[in-house]
Structures are given as structure tokens and as C-alpha cells.
Symmetry: C5
Subunit: 354 residues, 5 copies
């Protein structure tokens, strides 16, 4: 789906670390949602910029700043200066064509991944880039558009379910990753239903409309795989890396979503195998149909072409044609005709053409 | 087979470790079967819950608790509290869509795998998740439904065959894994018979019904592979891991079923290769059939179409057509006709169309 | 070739290490052939059982005991007790569906592999399991049936060629492996001749009979690969393992047959690639044939169908048809007919249909 | 695209390190462009040869010498002598058929890679070899022809954007690599547009012209992959190598373009998968078209061939044919004809051939 | 190309290290060419056997002994005894079906590889085995036939180009390998030209003769790959091995030809990909041709079959057929005929069948 591979053309020759937003530009305001919590407290706030936020290493409460919209470059620069974030990191936040990846800095971990939505009408997967910058006490998440899969997580934070507020930004980051990866299963279920549908059609009544559907599903699987495949590496790096932000007790949780990622990959590969099988089945069904059409033509032709020849003979105008004068000539003709037809039908029946 | 990929949709956004049963819910009661044995003793008991079971590190007898049915979440919670099992482990026990895996905790080893049944009528593999939580003296096994492949193992325990009661939970766990992997061979034999059947049809009389059968067998192989493939890793981890539960003398047994797993994978790959070859053969047989049908049509047409034209000529009503007036005109016509037919038949014979 | 994947069904639920013969049961007696030699002596003897054999670590002569037939379980048990062989090893000796493998025990090395025979008439590879139990001074080889590829080796032992009697059981084992792997080249040559034959047919006169032949050859390659592939690992393990039985000076010989195994794999993969190419060629030849048949039909039809229509016109009985009254009407008809035929033939010649 | 694989024929048997230019020979002069800068200064100069350049280890300013044209071997030899460059390195600079690679010498790093241009009219990728010899204070870049993708980089150097002049040759080399890899995205976008175009045609109106287009795009992807694939290794070596030229703070930048390279590979593989899918779709569309053509033929033939036979019957000249004498004979004939036509049309409608 | 896989049948059962020549036996004499040189001296001599050669560790000049012809086993034995060469090495020298490989002995390095020639008329690659036994001061090269690619190397030795005589046997061995690998590029260029030719035919006028050509090229690529692929390992081992013969300063040269080998593999894989694409294109071209043939047939049939039916109607002899009596009946018939033809042609034009 070349349409989904966005260009970074406008960037060629620019200095690395030059901040430029690559992606759809929107006129709406950028929204910053701050959730600040400790075990005992929980506050939520909408900010216009980062002016009220200060990096403080001795901070005790956890702050989650979610940014919807990436077109306000000044805001990102402001953040970069305040939190001493590497220009390449900021560049990657803004470049929404980034491949999912993880980078480790001295003070923070930077994660890029894809949030996916399935448009059931268009039967298309839509992808939105999510970047996380994880400090010990601050977590910044950047999304291209409003709307995400984190609603339940916000509720759990508010209600402090499973004592989530007693845990650090590493657990919060894990929860965000978990929500995103869980949503992949949702998409796979939707696609699975479409695969089921196409399979049913294929086995009952395969027609021309099936090929583009198989093609489409295959393409969606390719795109999905591209988004999911790098996650293995990312989670592997997070688990193996020796950094101060991810605590040991969080590792088990990361391993858990690592397993989920493997499972997503397994399902994707399974669907790809099944779609390949469906393609083979479809191609063989076309060949069989051509075969059937040919048989109908051949049966009719081989029965009637010789008979038409016979009729043609007795339509000739030779002066001397003794059969034409016979009393039972015409009846004989019919007898021969019928015998021929019966013989041919038997022949084709034996050949199992019916 | 998308129908077999169960959704975890209801879980999105939930806190990790939230216990929720994902799978078919049944109204039957959950059954707990306790087998407790030492070298000298063997008792078996049906329990309603885990209230009579207490974790005791100095316990000398081995307890195997088999749970049939996973819909009673309270029971699982009760167990979790008593044996200090990590919430993520309990979550995985209940989520029957889990990919086979192994997790090592301080006190126990957690193994998830698939028990497979072959429904010969539907020609479908049915899968049931089995989870094992292996403590030093306790082994918990969880199944979705009643009925399993452990009948012979229970007998061997009762009769203390090969001195099985003198061995630990690691050997018991090995015996369970061994029973399950042995049953895979059984399934492969069933599928192998179907492959044989389809192959015989294919080589003797390939018809349209073969394609869906090949497709089905391919799909079953994909599903089977998905269940078996992760077993290699699981057994590899068990063999390599340095833990207190698996004793050295059990390693040789684990290596043995590791070899069996490799063998199962080999057979699956062999069948996949064979099925690919069958597909090619089938597709070439359709093409050959079309070819044959075409030949019949062409032979009839090329013989009779020119002759019909000839008959048509002498059916014309031109005033001046000298041949019509000839005494032997009609006989000449037949002579030409027969020569043409003989010539054509020879021509096709030389072309090896008969 | 599912027929070749033997079931281990009867074993499900049995205790591991239970001795049961899996394979074809024969009524003939089991034959034990003992060859005992030192540099200076060579004796050969037929035994009925192992009662006269005693394990003695200080033994100086080398004993090679070759067992033909595996259905006498008592014999195997007797041996197991005398030489302290692990039950799992004995189980593997009897289970002739074993995947080739190597196991290292404290006192012996256990090797399973396949001896292959090519039945040129049926064009089928037959496989027989050979197991070797290699002690420092004793080597046990087990075969399913009488007859093997070790005849020349026995002669060399008797004649002490290349001073073979001065070497240990490791060198003897190497010689056995070498004989078996050399025989694979023989089989590959036979198959290669068949591939040549099919290729010649394919390029000169491809007909329907070729497809099953290609399919068969492919299946044989799959089976052959299954037998040979594990050998790489086995030899790799033997070379790398640090054990007391394989001496350093034998390693070079093992590396030599390791290279041969790689070469066998290379040839197998080459044949598989060539067979794939032959399949493509065959499929394209069917398509070309259909094309040719279609061209014959089309040439005849497009020439004669319009002419038949023309003849039909002048066979009509309209009262007023001026052409019929013309003196040269009939001749005109023939002129038009011949011009049409010449034009059409030219047209098809330009299209290169002839 | 064999045309793109240039021969090194003229080199066989020559001593390694013999300087000979392999590639297109041009009559134009070789141009040397020297850019010399420190944080505070920037000078640019056109040189005729390297006589004015001297290697000085204590040099403080950075010199970038870009050479356009490789046919002046003396110049290269002069450089080799002055800077003590290994003959094999010089040989590789001149051999423009080199596979991208990196070599580490004591004093310099040698990198070969491909600069690619997309000719949108010919829909062809053109490739030009770029070699970099990176000393601590000098960087030599060699191109086959004038014109490159470094224009923006030169501007940034002149304007000292992002303080680029304060960094070493390692950062300069990184900037050159970055420019080249960025240009790959540009090419991928162009190809992506072509893929889109072909896809649109394929889904709306697939005709014969599509196959060569798919074939062409596939070939371009193969060539592109060949140029990009070795870059991973090169960048990996640069990042991992422990040398004095690449400073630690540059590693992050190299990792960044390493990520870009992976992304380019991902996109290439995605396109290859999509092109495979398009091929399948195209092949199925031909089969469907043949099917449709066959249906038209069969419908017409099966309707009219029997009717023509019927008409033929009543064109016979038997003396005794009672139907011909019937008053309503002719009308009956039409009734039968119409009933037959209606019946056949219904039959084909039910078969969904319309 | 099974014809190229030579059997080692005659060897089964022989003792390892038995010297037997496997390959084409020639009646010509074996030729030994001795080139002996130091920096200052160069002598060349033809020997009949090795009697005048003595192994002397303190030797200062370098001796290169090239043996053309392998059928004189005594000569090889003589050499083996004099230089203390392992029997397995001698066996491998004589067995010309050896897979390319490297072996390290205490005193020498043994390398086997293939020298390839391209017969442009037969479009076949011919392969000749070359073995090198490299001592510190002696290098033995064995070829099956006279004639090789080392002519230029001999000249360089004589003229002491690039001071080649001052270097050791390792550099001489490198030069031999370099000559051989350079000649692979030559072969690839020849094959590349054939690929170009077939591609041009394919895109301009694909006919049946193309398929065997593609098949042939594919087979040549398979054989070429088999010869080249093991070279990577060989060179890798030579570079990594810690032996006394290969000096550090030669490593850079070995790395250089290692890179060339990778490049050869790259080109081979590229051609294989291109040939696959050509196969797809060819298959689609057959389908398109069949389609075109079908269209011609269908156009003619659907136009003339209904019209023939119409003519048949008015050729009927019913007593009462009013149209026949009409004055303009015949003209009406022609009007209807022409309208039908025009309508059909329009219909097919709209369907884009022309």
C-alpha cells in the first residue's frame, strides 16, 4: 500500500535534528493533558504549553503528559529545552513515518510505536504514531490526533485499581504499551471475521469479487506486520537493557506483553498462510470453471456438429441421391440421429463430464 | 482458521492481572481431582474447592491437583492466595487463547500448552488449553473441559509402574507433557491417513472435491504447527534453566520429549511439503483436463466443419452447378468425405491426440 | 509419503522406558554376529543371546556385536542389564520410527540413523533404522532386517586393511557411518538417473505421465532429506563433544564424513531446485499445448464458418435471388471461397500460428 | 537487470592493487573541490590535482576534498602516495562495480556506497558509486560523475547550521551518508507512485501492458535492495568498530541512519510483497478473462448450433417429410426455436454466466 | 543438472584414505610444472615425478608445483610420503567430486575449489577441480586437465610485478584464488549476456523456445551457486584461522576476495530473482496468447453462427414460408445480416477485444 508510505522528501539535505513535522497538518490546537498522581492523590489538567512544567529530579509524584497533535513545533522545542531531550529524539517525535523503535538516553527512554484502528467499512487499517518519552517521574506521550485506546487506563489510574498509582513511570509505560498491543488483537479479530467471510464465499460460490478481497486482506496483513514486527525488538531491548527507569518488578509485565507480541505475529503469519491457501483455491476454482464451460461447449458441439453435417448431406441437390427417394429415408435419418445422441450422451457420462 | 483464534477483546483496558475467564463458559461444576502419593501410598479424592489444601514446604508426599473447567474465578483466586501465585500467572491460566509458553517464578514453574483432539468426522483438530503450575511437592493442572489423555498415567501412578511414585513433581510434569506429545503422534497418524486417501484420489481420479480437502489439510497443519512450534522453546528453556524443581536425572527425559517434539515438527513440515506437491499435481491435472476437453472439441470440429461446408455447397441452388448433374456426383462426395475423415484421424493420431 | 511415517500409537500412556518393538514384526530369529579383534587376532561368531558376553572395562580386544532383527525384547533387556544401558536408550533402539540422533551417556554414545536402499523398480527409497551403542571396547549395532552395506568393512577388518584393527571402537563407528553415508551417494546417483530420464522426456515430449514422476521424485527427495538432515547435527555433536570414547585422531575422519553429509544435502537441494524448474517447465508445456490445440480449432473454424454461412445463403429458397440465376454465379462463389481461404491462411501465417 | 552488472573482465590476472578504472570513461576533466573549514572559517576552492595538499597530522581545520570523475589514474596514485593509502583501497575507488562495503585501516576508514537517481521517464534507477576515505582531519569523496545530493550539506557547512563546522570528519561523513540515504526515500516515493498507478490500473482495467510494468518494478526493487542491503552491515560495523576517527557522540547519529536503512529495507520488502500480490491478481484476471471469452462463445454456440441442426433438417430433400407439408409447420418451427432460446438463456442465467 | 553430479560409487566400502581417482581418466601424461623463485631469482622446470623434490623446512626460495592430471596415483602417493600429507587429503585431491572446502593440518593448509569455464556454444558451465596444498615454502596445485586461468599470474611472477616474489606462499595462494574468483565474474558476464538476450526476446516476441532457455539458465545458476557458496566459508575460515602459514599482511587481500565472493553470490541471487520474474512473465504471456486465440475464435463464431442459422431457416423446404415469396425477402435477409455484423463488431469493440 504505497499510499501509506509517507515521504520524508521535504527533509533531504536538512540538518539532522532540524524539527519539522512530517505528516498530516491539522489546524486544530494541540492539546496537552496532564495527569499527576501519587498513591494518595490524582489530578488531571489541560495545559496550553509546557511553561508550567519543570524538570525536578526529586519530584515524588508521577506526571503523565499526553500531547494530541504534533504540528506545534515550538511546543516541542520548549519541551526539548526544559527536559534536555536530544534533538534527534524530538525530530523522531515529529516525523510520523518513523519505524517503531526504542532509544536509550542517559535520562530517558524513547519509544515509538503505532496505534492502529480498523475501519470496518473501508476494510482498512489506519495507523497513528505514538511516541513515549519516559523519565523516572515524567512520561510524555505524543499522538497525531485526538482519540486513543487509553480510556480504560485513565479510569484505572483515577480509581487506583490494582494499586496502579503506587507504581512508577515504567509501569505506566507498560500499561500504555499493553493497551496498544491489546488493541491489535481487536483488529486481528475484525480482520479474522473478514477472512472468515471471504473463506465462506470461496468455498460456496467463488466469483471474481473474491480476488480483490484476498488481495486487500493480504495487503493489510503486510502493513500490520510492519507495525508489529519491530515491537519484538523493542520489548526485547527494554527487558534486556540495564537502565535506571525500568525496575526489576516491571520486567515480568514486559515479558508478558512480549509474549503477546509473539502471539500477534503468530496470528498474522497464520492468516498469511491461510490467505495463500485461499488464493490457490481461488485460482483452481477459475480453472475448474473454465473447464466446466469448455465441457458444456464441447458436449453441445460434438453432438450437433456431426448431425448438422448429416442434415446438410440430405439437403444437397445432387440429381442422383437414392436415399432421398426411399420411403423410410426420413425416418431412418431420425433413427440415426437419435442413436448418435444417445451414444454421445453415454460417452460423456462415462467420462464423468456431467 | 480464523474461527479458532479467539478474541481477548473483553480484556482491552483492564488492569493486567485482572482475573477474567476468556473462553467458552460452561454451566457445569468445576471438578478438582486430588491424587496424593508417596512411594508407599496412593490416595485419590474429589474436591469442591481448595479450602482443604495448604501449602507446606516440608510436605513429603506429592500432590497432583487436576482442575477441569476454568469458569469459577473465585476458586482460582483462592488458590492464588494460598500458594502465592503471581496474578499474571492466574490470568494466563484463565485466558485459554494463550500461546504455549513457560514462565519461571521463584517457587514454581508455569507451563501452558495445548491438548489436541482429532475429530475424524469433521476432519478438524480441536484444541484445549492445559496449564501446569509445578511446585516442588504440588502440581496443579488446569483443563477447560473434562476428559483428557492422562488416563494411562493415572493407572501407572496407582500401580506404581517403573517406580513412578518415587519420583518428584518434575517427573510427573514430564509424564503429563509426554502423554500430550504422544497424543500428537496419534493425530498426525489420523491426518496422515487422510493425506494418503486424498493422494490416492489425486493420482487415480482427481476431481473438484480434492481442492477443498487439500485446503483443509493445509489449514489443519498450520494450526497444528502453531501448537507444536512453541513447545521446542518451552522444553529448551526447561532443560537449560537452572531451577530447583527440575532435577538433573529428569533432564534426560525432557531431552527425550524434546526429540519427540522435533520429530513432530519434522512430520508436519513433511506433510506440508507433500501437500504443496499435491496442489501442484492437482492444478496440472485441471490443466490437462481442459486440454483433453479441448482436444475432443477440436477433433470433432476440424473434421466436420469442413465437411459441413462441402455439404452446404451442394445444397446451393445455383442454376448452373455441373457437379449436381453428374451421375456419380453423390458418390464422389462420399469418397471425398471419407478421405477427409481418414486423413484428419491420421493427422490427429500422429499428433498423439488420441 | 505418509505411508512411511509409522505410528507410535500403541505407546501412548505407557511408561517411558517401557520396551516395546515398534515396526514390522518378523517371525525369523534374531541373529547376533560377534566380531572380536585386536591388531593380531580376528574371530567371528554367531550368538543366540548375550549370555556369553560380559562387560569388562579392562578388556583389550574390540568387540563388534551386530544384531539383525529387533522383535526379541528379552534379548535387548538382557543386554541392557549386563551393560547398564539406560531404559530410554533401549526404548529408542526398539522404536524404529526414531528420528536420527545422538545421545551421550557416561559410558557410551548412542547413535540412531537410517540405512537407505533404493528400489529401482518401484522407484522408492526404503529405509531401515540402524542404532549404534558405542562403548570404549564394545560396539553394538542394531538393524531391523538382515542385509546391510557393511560387507566391505567386514572384509577390511578381516584383512586388517589400513591397519584398521589397531584402532578403537570410535574408528569402527566412524567406518560404519562412512559406509552408510557413502551408500547415500549411490542412492542419489540412482535418483539422479531418474531425474535425467524425466528431464529428457520433459524437453523432448512432455506428456501427462511426467507429472506423477516429478511428484514421486519430489517426495523421495523430501524423505531422503528427512533422513540426512539430522546427520549434520549428529556429526557436529560427535565432533564437538568432549567424551572419552572418541579420540582426537578420529576427529579428522568424522570431519571428513561431516563434509560428505553437507555434500549430500547440497545435492538433495540441487535436485529439489531442478525438480521445481521441471515442474514450471511442465506446467508451461501444458499451457502451450492447450494453446496449440486452440489454434488448430480456431484456424479451421474461422476459415470454414464464414464460408459455410456463404454456402448457406445460396442454399436459401427465396424466390428472388438474382445471383442464383447468373451463369457464372457458382464459379464466382468458388472464387470468393478461395480468396477467403488464401487471405485467412496468410493472416494466420503473419500471426505465426503455423 | 544484467545490463547493470558491469564486468571486471579487463582485470583478470592483473596484480591486485593495479590501478585501472572500471566504468564509463569520460573525456571531461576530473574536478576536485576542496572545502576547508573550522568553526570560524570556511573556504572553498577548485583544484587541478593534489599537489597543494599535504597530509599533516597536526592540522586543525577540516578538509573535504570531493573528486568528480575517476578516469585520471595518476591523480589517484598521487593521492595514494601522499596520504599513504593502501593500493587495494585505491583499486576499489576506481572499480565502480564495487559492492557497498567498509574497510578499516590504521589511519582511515574507507566506505563505498551507491548514490541512486530515479529517471522517471525511463522508470529506471541509475546508480553512481561514491567512495569515502575518512581521515581524522581530511575526508575524500569520489564520484563517477558531476552532480550529487550534497548541495544542501554544502550550504549548511557554509552557513554553519547546527554548528556543523565544530564537528569532525566523522560527523561530515555521517552527513554525507545521511544525504544519500535520505535520497533513497525520495526514490522509493517515486517508485511508490508508479506502484500506485499500476495497482489502480490492475484493479480497474488490467491489460497486457501491466505485466511488463510489474516485471520492471520488481527488477528495480531487486537492484535497489542490492544497493541498500549492504548498508546495514556497513553502518553496523561503523557503530561497533573501535576506531579513533568515529567519536562517541557521533554514534547516536549513525544509529539514527542505521534505523533509516532498516526502514528503507522494510519499505522495499513491503513493495516486493505487494508486487507479488499484484502479479497473482493479474494472473487471476487473465484466467477470468479467458473464462469470460469462453462463456460468450459457449452461450452463442449452445443456443444456435442445435437450432442450425433443426433448420438443417427441414432443408433436407427427402421425398417423404410430412412436417414440410403441414400448414403450420413453419410456425411450429419458430415456436420450438423460441422456446429453445428462452430455455437456454434461463439455463445460463441460473448458472450466473451473465 | 544431474549429469554433473558425479558418483563416488566405486568407493563404497573402501577404506578411508584409499587412493583412487574419481573422475574422467585420461591417457595423457601427468605434467608437473615447477616454478621456484626468490626476490632475485626465477626458474621454471617441467618434472616427470617428485623424485627431485625434497621437503626442507629451512628452504628460503618459494616452490610452486602445478600438477595437470590426476590419474597417476603413484605420483600422488610419492608426494604424500615425501611431504607427510594425510591420506584423507590425498584422497580428496583425487576425488574430483569434492565440495569446495578448506582443511588445516599442522604443516599445511588444504583448499579444494572449482575452476569454471563457460562454453558459450553449448551455453554450459564446465567445472574443473583445483586443489591447493599450501606449505610454508611449497605450494602444490592440482588440476584435472591442462589449461587454466593462471597465465597472467605466471607472467607477473616472472616479471616480479608489484614485488610479488618477495611474498610467501600465502600470497601466492591468494593470487591463485583471486585469479579463479575473477574468472567467475567473466562467466557471470557471459551468462548475463544470455539473460539479456532471453529478456529481449521475452519482452518483444515470447515463443515456446524461451522456456527451455530460462530453464537452462536457472540450472546453470544452481550449479554456479553450488561452486561459489562454499567459498565464503573457506575464505572466512582462512581469515579467522590462527595458523603459521597465512601472515597478517595477507589477511587484507583475503578479505578483498572474500568481498568479491559475496559480490558473486549477490549477482547470482539477482539473476535468480530476475529469471523467476521472467518465468512469471512468460507464463502470463502464454495465458494472454491463449486468450487472444480464444477471442479470434469467439468473434468469428458469435458473428457467423447466428447468421448461418438464419440462412439455414430460409433454406428450409416448408410448403408455407411467406418470407420466401416476398419480393424483397432476400434483400431483407442481407439487411438483417449486415445489421447483426455491425452490431456484433461494435459490441466486441466496446469490450476491447480488438
Amino acid at each position: 500500500m504505497p499510499k501509506h508510505i509517507k515521504s520524508t522528501k521535504e527533509k533531504i539535505g536538512m540538518a539532522p535534528g532540524t524539527l519539522i513535522h512530517v505528516g498530516e497538518r491539522l489546524s486544530e490546537d494541540v492539546k496537552i493533558n496532564l495527569i499527576k498522581y501519587t498513591v494518595d492523590s490524582f489530578t488531571t489538567e489541560i495545559l496550553n504549553d509546557f511553561s508550567s512544567i519543570e524538570y525536578s529530579p526529586s519530584e515524588t509524584s508521577i506526571s503523565w503528559l499526553n500531547v494530541d497533535g504534533l504540528h506545534d513545533i515550538k511546543l516541542i522545542e520548549q519541551l526539548g529545552n526544559k527536559f534536555n531531550i536530544h534533538p534527534l529524539t524530538l525530530e523522531d517525535v515529529l516525523n510520523t513515518t518513523q519505524r517503531p523503535k526504542v532509544d536509550f538516553d542517559d535520562n530517558y527512554i524513547f519509544v515509538v510505536l503505532k496505534m492502529l484502528y480498523y475501519n470496518d467499512e473501508l476494510r482498512e487499517i489506519h495507523s497513528e504514531q505514538v511516541s513515549l518519552i519516559i523519565f523516572k517521574k515524567y512520561l510524555f506521550s505524543f499522538q497525531e490526533f485526538e482519540g486513543d485506546v487509553f480510556g480504560d487506563l485513565r479510569k484505572r489510574l483515577q480509581q487506583n485499581k490494582s494499586n496502579i498509582r503506587s507504581k512508577g513511570t515504567d509501569y505506566l509505560a507498560y500499561s500504555l504499551l499493553d493497551s496498544i498491543i491489546d488493541s491489535y488483537f481487536d483488529i486481528l479479530e475484525n480482520i479474522g471475521n473478514n477472512v472468515d467471510e471471504v473463506e465462506d464465499k470461496l468455498l460456496s460460490n467463488p466469483d471474481k469479487a473474491i480476488m480483490p478481497e484476498i488481495y486487500n486482506l493480504k495487503r493489510e496483513m503486510i502493513l500490520l506486520r510492519n507495525s508489529v514486527w519491530p515491537l519484538r525488538e523493542i520489548l526485547g531491548s527494554l527487558i534486556k537493557s540495564d537502565n535506571l527507569i525500568v525496575e526489576d518488578k516491571t520486567l515480568m509485565y514486559l515479558r508478558d506483553i512480549y509474549d503477546h507480541t509473539i502471539q500477534v505475529m503468530d496470528i498474522i503469519e497464520t492468516y498469511r498462510d491461510i490467505l495463500s491457501g485461499m488464493l490457490d483455491t481461488y485460482l483452481s476454482s477459475i480453472s475448474n470453471k473454465t473447464n466446466d464451460v469448455m465441457k458444456v461447449l464441447t458436449i453441445f458441439s460434438t453432438i450437433f456438429i456431426p448431425l448438422t453435417f448429416l442434415a446438410g448431406i440430405y439437403g444437397m441437390n445432387f440429381d442422383y441421391m437414392p436415399e432421398l427417394r426411399l420411403k423410410y429415408g426420413y425416418i431412418m435419418f431420425w433413427v440415426i440421429t437419435l442413436i448418435t445422441i444417445i451414444f454421445m450422451i453415454n460417452y460423456f457420462k462415462r467420462k464423468k463430464w456431467f
